[in-house]
Protein backbone atom coordinates (compact mmCIF):
# COMPACT_ATOMS: atom_id res chain seq x y z
CA UNK A 1 0.00 0.00 0.00
CA UNK A 2 2.78 2.36 1.00
CA UNK A 3 4.78 1.44 -2.14
CA UNK A 4 1.85 2.12 -4.44
CA UNK A 5 1.25 5.51 -2.80
CA UNK A 6 4.92 6.47 -3.33
CA UNK A 7 4.69 5.33 -6.93
CA UNK A 8 1.59 7.45 -7.50
CA UNK A 9 3.33 10.46 -6.01
CA UNK A 10 6.39 9.95 -8.21
CA UNK A 11 4.26 9.56 -11.31
CA UNK A 12 2.24 12.60 -10.36
CA UNK A 13 5.34 14.73 -9.81
CA UNK A 14 6.81 13.55 -13.10
CA UNK A 15 3.60 14.28 -14.95
CA UNK A 16 3.39 17.74 -13.37
CA UNK A 17 6.98 18.54 -14.39
CA UNK A 18 6.37 17.37 -17.95
CA UNK A 19 3.15 19.36 -18.14
CA UNK A 20 4.84 22.51 -16.81
CA UNK A 21 7.64 22.13 -19.35
CA UNK A 22 5.19 21.66 -22.18
CA UNK A 23 3.07 24.63 -21.17
CA UNK A 24 6.17 26.83 -20.80
CA UNK A 25 7.42 25.78 -24.22
CA UNK A 26 4.07 26.60 -25.80
CA UNK A 27 3.99 29.97 -24.02
CA UNK A 28 7.54 30.93 -25.03
CA UNK A 29 7.14 29.95 -28.67
CA UNK A 30 3.89 31.88 -28.88
CA UNK A 31 5.50 35.01 -27.32
CA UNK A 32 8.62 35.48 -29.41
CA UNK A 33 10.64 38.64 -28.69
CA UNK A 34 9.38 41.55 -30.72
CA UNK A 35 12.38 43.55 -31.88
CA UNK A 36 10.14 46.58 -32.30
CA UNK A 37 8.91 46.51 -28.72
CA UNK A 38 9.84 49.69 -26.77
CA UNK A 39 11.96 47.92 -24.18
CA UNK A 40 14.48 50.73 -23.70
CA UNK A 41 12.71 53.96 -24.57
CA UNK A 42 15.55 56.27 -23.69
CA UNK A 43 18.18 54.31 -25.61
CA UNK A 44 15.97 53.63 -28.61
CA UNK A 45 15.04 57.26 -28.81
CA UNK A 46 18.71 58.14 -28.78
CA UNK A 47 19.14 56.55 -32.21
CA UNK A 48 16.63 59.14 -33.36
CA UNK A 49 16.96 61.69 -30.59
CA UNK A 50 14.61 64.17 -32.16
CA UNK A 51 16.98 66.97 -31.29
CA UNK A 52 16.33 70.60 -32.07
CA UNK A 53 18.60 72.53 -34.36
CA UNK A 54 19.61 75.69 -32.55
CA UNK A 55 20.53 79.05 -34.09
CA UNK A 56 24.21 78.80 -33.18
CA UNK A 57 24.51 75.36 -34.79
CA UNK A 58 24.53 71.88 -33.35
CA UNK A 59 21.75 69.72 -31.98
CA UNK A 60 19.93 70.17 -28.68
CA UNK A 61 18.04 67.39 -26.88
CA UNK A 62 15.94 68.11 -23.79
CA UNK A 63 14.34 65.63 -21.43
CA UNK A 64 10.93 66.53 -19.95
CA UNK A 65 12.63 67.66 -16.72
CA UNK A 66 14.43 70.55 -18.44
CA UNK A 67 12.70 73.58 -19.96
CA UNK A 68 13.79 76.34 -22.29
CA UNK A 69 13.00 79.96 -21.56
CA UNK A 70 13.03 83.33 -23.28
CA UNK A 71 14.43 84.95 -20.15
CA UNK A 72 17.97 86.31 -20.46
CA UNK A 73 20.63 83.92 -19.19
CA UNK A 74 22.49 85.01 -16.06
CA UNK A 75 25.51 82.93 -17.12
CA UNK A 76 26.45 80.12 -19.50
CA UNK A 77 28.22 76.82 -19.53
CA UNK A 78 31.30 76.93 -21.72
CA UNK A 79 34.60 75.20 -22.20
CA UNK A 80 37.45 76.89 -20.37
Amino acid sequence: MRDSRALVLKLGATALAIAATAVSAVFVTSHLKNANAPLQPSVLSASDPGGLSVPGGGTLVLSPSVRQTDAPAVTSTYAS
Binding site: S42, V43, S45, A46, S47, P49, V54, P55, G56, G57, G58, T59, L60, V61, L62, S63, S65, V66, R67, Q68, T69, D70, A71, P72, A73, V74, T75, S76, T77, Y78, A79, S80
Partner: protein
Protein backbone atom coordinates in the same frame (compact mmCIF):
# COMPACT_ATOMS: atom_id res chain seq x y z
CA UNK B 1 2.77 84.45 -9.08
CA UNK B 2 6.18 83.03 -8.25
CA UNK B 3 8.36 85.04 -5.90
CA UNK B 4 11.05 87.27 -7.37
CA UNK B 5 14.38 87.75 -5.69
CA UNK B 6 17.12 90.22 -6.28
CA UNK B 7 20.25 88.50 -7.58
CA UNK B 8 23.60 89.13 -5.96
CA UNK B 9 26.54 88.34 -8.23
CA UNK B 10 30.28 88.05 -7.76
CA UNK B 11 32.85 87.30 -10.51
CA UNK B 12 36.55 86.63 -10.30
CA UNK B 13 39.41 84.93 -12.14
CA UNK B 14 40.53 81.60 -10.70
CA UNK B 15 41.29 78.05 -11.84
CA UNK B 16 42.59 79.52 -15.11
CA UNK B 17 39.12 80.79 -16.01
CA UNK B 18 36.36 83.24 -15.14
CA UNK B 19 34.21 82.19 -12.21
CA UNK B 20 30.84 83.65 -11.22
CA UNK B 21 28.68 83.16 -8.16
CA UNK B 22 25.01 84.18 -7.93
CA UNK B 23 22.58 84.18 -5.03
CA UNK B 24 18.85 84.87 -5.01
CA UNK B 25 18.68 83.94 -1.36
CA UNK B 26 19.01 86.68 1.21
CA UNK B 27 20.34 84.18 3.69
CA UNK B 28 23.16 83.06 1.38
CA UNK B 29 26.60 83.73 2.79
CA UNK B 30 28.83 86.51 1.49
CA UNK B 31 29.81 85.44 -2.05
CA UNK B 32 33.35 86.72 -1.59
CA UNK B 33 33.78 83.93 0.95
CA UNK B 34 33.11 81.55 -1.93
CA UNK B 35 35.90 83.15 -3.93
CA UNK B 36 38.34 82.62 -1.06
CA UNK B 37 37.31 78.97 -0.81
CA UNK B 38 37.81 78.45 -4.58
CA UNK B 39 41.23 80.09 -4.55
CA UNK B 40 42.43 78.15 -1.50
CA UNK B 41 41.27 74.78 -2.78
CA UNK B 42 42.37 75.52 -6.34
CA UNK B 43 45.90 76.13 -5.06
CA UNK B 44 45.88 72.70 -3.42
CA UNK B 45 44.55 70.84 -6.48
CA UNK B 46 46.54 72.45 -9.31
CA UNK B 47 49.28 70.59 -11.17
CA UNK B 48 51.04 73.83 -12.06
CA UNK B 49 52.43 74.51 -8.57
CA UNK B 50 55.11 72.20 -7.20
CA UNK B 51 53.94 72.81 -3.64
CA UNK B 52 50.32 71.79 -4.23
CA UNK B 53 48.85 68.68 -2.68
CA UNK B 54 48.34 67.18 -6.13
CA UNK B 55 51.94 67.85 -7.17
CA UNK B 56 53.18 66.18 -3.97
CA UNK B 57 51.13 63.12 -4.85
CA UNK B 58 52.36 63.18 -8.45
CA UNK B 59 55.96 63.19 -7.24
CA UNK B 60 55.54 60.67 -4.43
CA UNK B 61 57.18 57.79 -6.36
CA UNK B 62 54.82 55.08 -5.25
CA UNK B 63 54.71 55.96 -1.54
CA UNK B 64 51.49 56.35 0.41
CA UNK B 65 50.99 60.12 0.65
CA UNK B 66 48.89 62.04 3.15
CA UNK B 67 46.07 63.96 1.45
CA UNK B 68 43.30 66.24 2.63
CA UNK B 69 39.62 65.32 2.63
CA UNK B 70 38.90 67.40 -0.49
CA UNK B 71 41.61 65.76 -2.61
CA UNK B 72 40.52 62.37 -1.34
CA UNK B 73 36.95 63.12 -2.42
CA UNK B 74 38.04 64.36 -5.86
CA UNK B 75 40.21 61.26 -6.37
CA UNK B 76 37.29 59.00 -5.45
CA UNK B 77 35.06 60.98 -7.84
CA UNK B 78 37.71 60.47 -10.52
CA UNK B 79 37.70 56.71 -9.99
CA UNK B 80 33.91 56.73 -10.33
CA UNK B 81 34.25 58.84 -13.47
CA UNK B 82 36.61 56.26 -14.95
CA UNK B 83 34.01 53.55 -14.38
CA UNK B 84 31.07 55.59 -15.67
CA UNK B 85 32.96 56.56 -18.81
CA UNK B 86 34.41 53.06 -19.36
CA UNK B 87 37.85 54.61 -19.16
CA UNK B 88 37.36 57.61 -21.44
CA UNK B 89 37.58 60.06 -18.53
CA UNK B 90 40.92 59.24 -17.00
CA UNK B 91 42.85 61.71 -14.85
CA UNK B 92 46.02 59.63 -15.39
CA UNK B 93 46.46 61.34 -18.77
CA UNK B 94 48.91 63.92 -17.42
CA UNK B 95 52.04 62.34 -19.01
CA UNK B 96 50.24 62.41 -22.39
CA UNK B 97 49.21 66.04 -21.83
CA UNK B 98 52.80 66.97 -21.00
CA UNK B 99 54.03 65.07 -24.07
CA UNK B 100 51.98 67.25 -26.42
CA UNK B 101 53.42 70.40 -24.88
CA UNK B 102 50.84 71.43 -22.28
CA UNK B 103 53.37 71.74 -19.49
CA UNK B 104 52.31 75.10 -18.05
CA UNK B 105 49.28 77.39 -18.16
CA UNK B 106 48.61 78.11 -21.83
CA UNK B 107 48.69 81.83 -21.08
CA UNK B 108 52.47 81.24 -20.92
CA UNK B 109 52.45 79.27 -24.18
CA UNK B 110 52.98 75.56 -24.93
CA UNK B 111 56.34 73.85 -24.85
CA UNK B 112 57.91 71.45 -27.34
CA UNK B 113 55.81 68.38 -28.05
CA UNK B 114 57.05 64.79 -28.18
CA UNK B 115 56.55 62.89 -31.42
CA UNK B 116 55.48 59.64 -29.80
CA UNK B 117 52.11 59.05 -28.17
CA UNK B 118 52.19 58.12 -24.49
CA UNK B 119 50.31 55.04 -23.28
CA UNK B 120 47.70 56.03 -20.70
CA UNK B 121 47.27 53.45 -17.92
CA UNK B 122 43.87 52.56 -16.50
CA UNK B 123 43.33 54.76 -13.47
CA UNK B 124 42.39 51.94 -11.04
CA UNK B 125 45.66 50.21 -11.96
CA UNK B 126 47.79 53.14 -10.82
CA UNK B 127 45.81 54.95 -8.10
CA UNK B 128 44.86 53.65 -4.67
CA UNK B 129 42.91 55.77 -2.21
CA UNK B 130 42.26 55.07 1.45
CA UNK B 131 41.16 57.32 4.27
CA UNK B 132 43.51 60.32 4.38
CA UNK B 133 46.07 58.78 2.00
CA UNK B 134 46.64 57.96 -1.65
CA UNK B 135 49.29 56.06 -3.57
CA UNK B 136 50.22 56.54 -7.20
CA UNK B 137 52.28 54.07 -9.22
CA UNK B 138 55.73 55.45 -10.08
CA UNK B 139 55.76 57.04 -13.51
CA UNK B 140 52.09 57.95 -13.35
CA UNK B 141 50.74 61.45 -12.82
CA UNK B 142 47.30 63.00 -12.46
CA UNK B 143 45.59 66.07 -13.88
CA UNK B 144 42.29 66.67 -12.09
CA UNK B 145 41.13 69.08 -14.80
CA UNK B 146 37.39 69.50 -15.17
CA UNK B 147 36.49 66.95 -12.52
CA UNK B 148 37.95 69.21 -9.84
CA UNK B 149 36.02 72.21 -11.16
CA UNK B 150 32.76 70.28 -11.25
CA UNK B 151 33.31 68.84 -7.81
CA UNK B 152 34.13 72.28 -6.42
CA UNK B 153 31.02 73.80 -8.03
CA UNK B 154 28.85 71.14 -6.37
CA UNK B 155 30.42 71.63 -2.94
CA UNK B 156 30.41 75.42 -3.15
CA UNK B 157 26.72 75.55 -4.11
CA UNK B 158 25.93 73.45 -1.05
CA UNK B 159 27.87 75.87 1.14
CA UNK B 160 26.56 79.15 -0.27
CA UNK B 161 22.83 78.79 0.30
CA UNK B 162 19.49 77.37 -0.77
CA UNK B 163 18.97 79.42 -3.95
CA UNK B 164 22.33 79.94 -5.62
CA UNK B 165 24.15 79.37 -8.90
CA UNK B 166 27.87 78.61 -9.14
CA UNK B 167 29.85 78.84 -12.38
CA UNK B 168 33.48 77.77 -12.11
CA UNK B 169 34.99 78.17 -15.55
CA UNK B 170 31.88 76.83 -17.29
CA UNK B 171 31.09 74.05 -14.82
CA UNK B 172 27.77 75.04 -13.26
CA UNK B 173 25.74 73.94 -10.29
CA UNK B 174 22.33 75.41 -9.55
CA UNK B 175 20.50 75.09 -6.26
CA UNK B 176 16.93 76.19 -5.72
CA UNK B 177 14.33 77.73 -8.01
CA UNK B 178 16.28 80.77 -9.16
CA UNK B 179 15.38 84.45 -9.04
CA UNK B 180 11.81 84.15 -10.34
CA UNK B 181 10.86 80.75 -9.02
CA UNK B 182 11.14 78.96 -12.38
CA UNK B 183 14.77 77.95 -12.27
CA UNK B 184 18.11 79.57 -13.00
CA UNK B 185 18.27 80.73 -16.66
CA UNK B 186 21.55 79.49 -18.12
CA UNK B 187 22.92 79.58 -21.65
CA UNK B 188 23.63 76.23 -23.27
CA UNK B 189 24.27 75.60 -26.96
CA UNK B 190 22.83 78.88 -28.17
CA UNK B 191 19.62 78.69 -26.16
CA UNK B 192 18.61 79.37 -22.55
CA UNK B 193 17.66 76.55 -20.19
CA UNK B 194 16.14 76.72 -16.72
CA UNK B 195 18.20 74.82 -14.18
CA UNK B 196 16.57 73.61 -10.96
CA UNK B 197 18.96 71.65 -8.78
CA UNK B 198 20.97 70.69 -11.87
CA UNK B 199 24.59 70.73 -12.91
CA UNK B 200 25.87 71.73 -16.35
CA UNK B 201 29.22 71.47 -18.09
CA UNK B 202 30.80 71.78 -21.52
CA UNK B 203 33.69 69.84 -22.98
CA UNK B 204 35.27 71.14 -26.14
CA UNK B 205 38.28 70.79 -28.38
CA UNK B 206 37.79 74.34 -29.68
CA UNK B 207 39.47 75.91 -26.65
CA UNK B 208 43.02 75.48 -25.38
CA UNK B 209 44.31 74.67 -28.86
CA UNK B 210 47.79 75.23 -30.20
CA UNK B 211 50.02 74.17 -33.09
CA UNK B 212 47.03 73.45 -35.31
CA UNK B 213 45.66 70.10 -34.20
CA UNK B 214 46.78 70.00 -30.58
CA UNK B 215 44.32 70.52 -27.76
CA UNK B 216 43.94 69.48 -24.14
CA UNK B 217 41.28 66.74 -24.43
CA UNK B 218 43.25 63.51 -24.55
CA UNK B 219 41.69 60.25 -25.77
CA UNK B 220 43.12 57.70 -23.29
CA UNK B 221 42.80 54.97 -25.92
CA UNK B 222 45.38 56.65 -28.15
CA UNK B 223 47.26 58.98 -25.80
CA UNK B 224 46.70 61.73 -28.38
CA UNK B 225 44.26 64.65 -28.61
CA UNK B 226 40.72 63.42 -29.24
CA UNK B 227 39.61 63.36 -32.87
CA UNK B 228 36.16 61.80 -32.55
CA UNK B 229 34.23 63.97 -34.97
CA UNK B 230 32.57 65.99 -32.21
CA UNK B 231 34.07 69.36 -31.32
CA UNK B 232 31.90 70.41 -28.39
CA UNK B 233 29.35 68.83 -26.06
CA UNK B 234 27.33 70.52 -23.32
CA UNK B 235 25.37 68.49 -20.79
CA UNK B 236 22.86 69.04 -18.02
CA UNK B 237 22.85 66.37 -15.31
CA UNK B 238 22.10 65.96 -11.63
CA UNK B 239 25.40 67.49 -10.54
CA UNK B 240 28.20 69.52 -12.09
CA UNK B 241 30.71 66.71 -11.77
CA UNK B 242 28.30 64.29 -13.46
CA UNK B 243 27.72 66.78 -16.26
CA UNK B 244 31.48 67.22 -16.67
CA UNK B 245 32.09 63.48 -16.91
CA UNK B 246 29.18 62.84 -19.29
CA UNK B 247 30.15 65.74 -21.57
CA UNK B 248 33.78 64.65 -21.81
CA UNK B 249 32.83 61.02 -22.35
CA UNK B 250 30.46 61.96 -25.17
CA UNK B 251 33.04 64.26 -26.74
CA UNK B 252 35.71 61.56 -26.81
CA UNK B 253 33.33 58.72 -27.71
CA UNK B 254 32.14 60.52 -30.82
CA UNK B 255 28.87 61.00 -32.69
CA UNK B 256 27.92 57.33 -32.97
CA UNK B 257 28.03 56.53 -29.25
CA UNK B 258 27.40 59.95 -27.72
CA UNK B 259 23.60 60.18 -28.30
CA UNK B 260 22.88 56.87 -26.56
CA UNK B 261 25.33 57.63 -23.75
CA UNK B 262 23.81 61.06 -23.14
CA UNK B 263 20.28 59.66 -23.36
CA UNK B 264 21.14 57.17 -20.66
CA UNK B 265 22.90 59.59 -18.29
CA UNK B 266 21.96 63.24 -18.98
CA UNK B 267 18.90 65.46 -18.55
CA UNK B 268 19.72 67.51 -21.64
CA UNK B 269 22.60 67.83 -24.05
CA UNK B 270 23.82 69.79 -27.02
CA UNK B 271 26.55 68.75 -29.39
CA UNK B 272 28.37 70.15 -32.39
Amino acid sequence: MPPEHRIRAHSFEALGATCSLFAADESAIDLSQGELWVRALGARLTRFEDSSELSRLNSSRGRWTSIGQELEDVLRASLRAFELSTGLVNIAVLPAILAIGYTRPLAHGPTTAALEAIDVPDLPDVLEVRSGEARLRPGSALDLGGIAKGWMADRLADQLGENVLVNLGGDLRARGVGPEGQGWPVGLGGTTILLVDHGAATSSVRRRRWAGDRHHVIDPRTGRPSDSGLVEVSVIAATAVDAEVIAKTALIAGPVVAPAFCAAHAEAWWWL
